[in-house]
Symmetry: C2
Subunit: 476 residues, 2 copies
């Protein structure tokens, strides 16, 4: 039986029907509850409070009404089509509920219920998968937080809030990280299209979700993943390659890269994390951008979702502080985009935006006397100069600049650069006022970070994206 | 002449007199100006607005009064002793002013004025150093932002604000980073005792400042440095060793570690950055904790200033989310504190604070059901268990916990741990509300970070501090 249940590649019906899960017209919550604190209550509440515009059907044989919505004894009693059934009943009656869903013609399932393979109950998990596949219902889970779609206000989960809306799809093998990071998306203005808590991934694995986001979801530009492990490595590589062919990039933070971390994933998700090197090779082969930590897991997609890929290695750093420039230069080498000198013709032009003691070398130091017009001029002229690949703009707070005015000029200059296909990342270093300017830039689609190193890391990823696009064009 | 001017080791009179610069009773600003926007105006304004309690003497031959203070034509006309003279006159008259300061009996000098070796004017720089040494006045600079002492409200600089007060002394070879990071210290609650912008370090170099902070400044516990390069490597190693002997640790972010970054330091501070490996070896020999980026430059001292060093490698990670635990485990290996399994007796105790499906392995997973009492119990019992070296507490936001209540309990538990010499670092992952809890913990002396990796990095540094202390005890 185990062989029969092996992830069967990337299935067309799954791609077709994932839309019913992530963009449903109607949602049933099987195991809905009147009792506050119960997950079956929270999920219904979140659907309502999230502002979902479709129909919501609480299913509970002992209730007539839940949170003001008419409740039905079973899925079969719902007098309408059901796109998505969210299942929160106890594990042992899940198979029966899934069969009812199949008979009802439900299109997709999210099984929040826990108590399956993660506690050794592999047989029960196999059973629910078998039934779901019999009826061609893609199944997310079991043992998940749920799914969220910020663009249609769908919070089909027990996470409190919808994320800040945007273009990054996030797939997480950790439920706690799903919940924890939703707050981040608002605080740091990281725009998310959809979130899928993938749980035990008994049926739908990373590969099908990636392919769906790449080929079926125009709202998603970047796919960010927290992954502990997968049994379907070949499918993963196939899916991430297909994503790159569709012009979308997959960013993965792999948990369990250390020896002990590998063990920890075993007790967490039961994943055989496998050697970090094997994953690394698979990621490279599959045009994946691998990131190193939680900060990068959002920093990097933020840039990839909002800026064009860098078409060559000629990155120019523009700064008003030498130290920030030096740190950016060190980071550029670390992140695969070592700086070269400013072309001499460009040097002459940039001299117009700095005092005599400025530096036209790369990093270009406009000095602490630089105002917003100097930044604007330097960025725009650099973007117009033939052969430039990308621009990193750095600012250390000084008394003579209004950070928000500077941010506005940087945004304007970035627009000019973007129109020419030149990406711009930014770091403004300072206090609250400066951090507000960083956040405003993010809202405007200009990835801005508190440190030069993070801005350079983001540019490194934009260049890696560019290299992958060139490579996939050559090979296909 | 050059040989005569070489940094002459660590000079006693400098150590004696640095106090007059960083803790002065009276300050003269030579080159004070009535014109807003001029540095000579800003420095006087900052001294007043910072709330400095000592005497302030503006020196200007053409003014009777500046910003409400009586002005004097020259230093010699000041009817009182002058501890610190801040010099903002043009470069070419600086030698004359310094001689006057010497004749007046001024104890120490901060030369903000630029236009010396950084623009090739080495002879003029040699001259001011020669005069300053003749009168045994330590000279900070030239070409600096100034010096700040948060504990006596001394803002003797053209940086707008005093930093958030605390126990970290910050020495920076980049003036822009001094100004930019002051905002950070407030926003992220990184407590600073004193800031010295070291500029061209023509007279006082890193080594003497480090020794002063280590041996003469009880307010400083940790010395954080942004360094591009020094000619006095031997003295640096001697100074950082002396600091470790005094129980204080030096943290250095070395700019210019990459090939191109080395060049960038040349055009920035004229430093011959030298091979990164040479510096790395010197840092290791000198018991320095080297950090990798701007984030770590404040993350690491924050922990070192507020927590005891870890006495052994047995670090226990306590989490409510498996994914965060896995990421912490990976980070632990990267930062030199690979996790071992929880001792079996401790496992039994920790079982009391988690449901049956929790994990007592290290990382200890209290699960998403953990409340503040579970965290308190788990941290306190772990701290009491013999042989534990340190505790990293991780929290992913859930709907069932009030982050501030949890933070309070973590603070209480950390106190118990600290009393037993066990350090605690924390990461709470979530939105605004959770970030407020992180900041509150920092205010309470518990280093808390937005990501697990940063909390583990901090613990790695606490362990490195512990190892250095053991080593220096053995060799001395």
């Amino acid at each position: 039986m185990a062989i029969e249940l092996k992830i069967p590649g990337i299935r067309e019906y799954v791609l077709d029907r994932l839309d019913a899960i992530l963009n449903p017209k109607s949602v049933a919550v099987v195991g809905a509850s009147r009792k506050e604190g119960k997950i079956g209550h929270t999920v219904v509440k979140n659907l309502i409070q999230g502002g979902f515009k479709g129909k919501i059907y609480p299913i509970n044989p002992k209730a007539d009404e839940i949170l003001g919505l008419k409740a039905y004894p079973s899925l079969k009693d719902v007098p309408d089509e059901v796109d998505l059934a969210i299942i929160v009943v106890p594990a042992k009656i899940t198979p029966q509920v899934i069969r009812e869903a199949g008979e009802k013609g439900v299109k997709g399932l999210v099984v929040i219920t826990a108590g399956f393979s993660e506690v050794g109950n592999k047989e029960l998990e196999d059973e629910i998968v078998r039934i779901a596949r019999e009826y061609k219902m893609p199944l997310i889970g079991p043992n998940v937080v749920g799914v969220l779609n910020a663009n249609v206000n769908l919070n089909a989960s027990f996470a409190q809030d919808l994320p800040y809306p945007g273009k990054i799809a996030f797939i997480s093998q950790s439920g706690a990280l799903v919940i924890g990071l939703i707050g981040w998306t608002h605080m740091y203005r990281v725009g998310i299209s959809k979130i899928v808590s993938i749980g035990n991934k008994a049926d739908v694995d990373f590969s099908e979700l990636i392919t769906y986001f790449a080929e079926r979801d125009p709202e998603t530009k970047v796919i960010a993943i927290y992954m502990e492990g997968t049994d379907a490595g070949r499918e993963l590589v196939e899916a991430t390659k297909r994503a790159m062919k569709a012009g979308k990039v997959v960013v993965i933070l792999k948990g369990g890269r250390s020896k002990r971390g590998e063990l920890a994933t075993m007790s967490h998700t039961g994943s055989l994390a496998g050697s970090a090197k094997v994953y690394q090779a698979a990621f490279k082969q599959g045009y994946v951008i691998e990131v190193d930590n939680l900060t990068e897991l959002y920093d990097v997609p933020l840039a990839l979702a909002n800026q064009p890929p860098a078409k060559n290695d000629n990155i120019i750093v523009i700064t008003n502080g030498g130290g920030a420039g030096v740190l950016a230069t060190d980071a550029a080498e670390r992140y695969g985009i070592p700086l070269s000198d400013t072309p001499s013709e460009l040097k002459k032009i940039l001299r117009n935006f700095m005092p005599p003691f400025g530096s036209d070398k790369n990093p270009v130091d406009l000095t602490g006397q630089a105002n917003e017009e100097d930044y604007y001029g330097a960025i725009v002229e650099t973007a117009k100069f033939p052969g430039v690949g990308g621009i990193v703009a750095l600012y250390c707070h000084t008394a003579i600049t209004d950070p928000m005015k500077l941010a506005q000029k940087i945004r304007d200059a970035a627009k000019v650069a973007n129109e020419r296909g030149i990406p711009v990342t930014v770091s403004m270093i300072g206090g609250e006022e400066v951090e507000r300017a960083n956040l405003w830039l993010r809202e405007q689609g200009v990835p801005a970070y508190p440190t030069p190193e993070r801005a350079v890391r983001a540019m490194g990823a934009l260049r890696q994206f560019g290299r992958y696009l060139e490579k996939i064009k050559r090979v296909s």
